[in-house]
Symmetry: C2
Subunit: 161 residues, 2 copies
């Protein structure tokens, strides 16, 4: 059956992109779990941000991005204050649920539309969503080095379960 419409071919479907992201988010959650609590907001290499600060950025950016994509309303939570690991994991799980609930509400055509995220970043929605996912992978890669430098084995990158 031919396509017969202007509907673009999918390299990645909306469901596929959500599953991809949540697979990465499971790794990042395991990173937070694996990180020594007393080093989470103190350990750093080369003057870079601590993994706790990076994880708080990742944690707050995700649901805010999807909510903005759905509603056009952008909240920018800049709270990177140190907090217990248990609280971070609780906030992480809330974010996971929020993303799962909001994502199916993204109108299908929205992915290829141009929008301005957080009042600042203008681009095609799919690029902006990929940016948030890449930002997580990028900073988590940073966290892998921090963790190894502390003598702790990071979670497997290939395990998305």
């Amino acid at each position: 059956m031919s396509n017969g419409t202007a509907s673009p071919v999918a390299a990645v479907t909306p469901e596929g992109l959500l599953a991809h992201w949540q697979g990465h988010r499971r790794i990042t959650r395991r990173m937070i779990e694996a990180y020594p609590e007393d080093q989470l907001f103190t350990h750093s290499i080369g003057g870079m941000r601590t993994f706790g600060q990076l994880a708080m950025e990742i944690l707050t950016m995700g649901p805010a991005m999807v909510r903005g994509t759905v509603t056009g309303e952008w909240s920018d939570n800049r709270d990177r204050a140190p907090r217990p690991k248990a609280e971070m994991l609780r906030l992480w799980d809330e974010a996971t649920q929020q993303i799962d609930e909001l994502w199916p509400q993204i109108p299908p055509q929205r992915f290829q539309e141009t929008m301005t995220a957080f009042g600042t970043f203008t681009g095609v929605t799919s690029d902006l969503l990929l940016y948030v996912i890449d930002n997580e992978v990028h900073h988590r890669g940073q966290g892998y080095v921090y963790l190894r430098s502390l003598g702790v084995e990071p979670p497997a990158f290939y395990d998305r379960s």
Copy 2:
């Protein structure tokens, strides 16, 4: 106009995914350029691989992945031997061109089909392609820490030009 076919909605189109990847690849190329040549295959933190080894993995995996996706033939180049930066950049540019030439030959339906990459990794093609891109972002994030630890400012993560 309704879709009216079984064609899945695109969160990311084939052209969009290629542009996204090549944007990341431009950052990785800048990382290789920025890296002190005498540290490329020697500097390491926490017993992890050198950035030179990681960059060679990224460099060889990309075109092999796309070629395999198009042809079903998988080559696995495991050469991670130290080499001059100029040679790496030359190989990098060859890989860029190969990816650009091969990518449009991926049959559109292939992205949602299951395949076995490199004779080992079975999954949906789009997930396997995203894996190669994520692997690059992940290891490059590692490289950012190495570079900062050497006192060198890495290229901007947000600049995909």
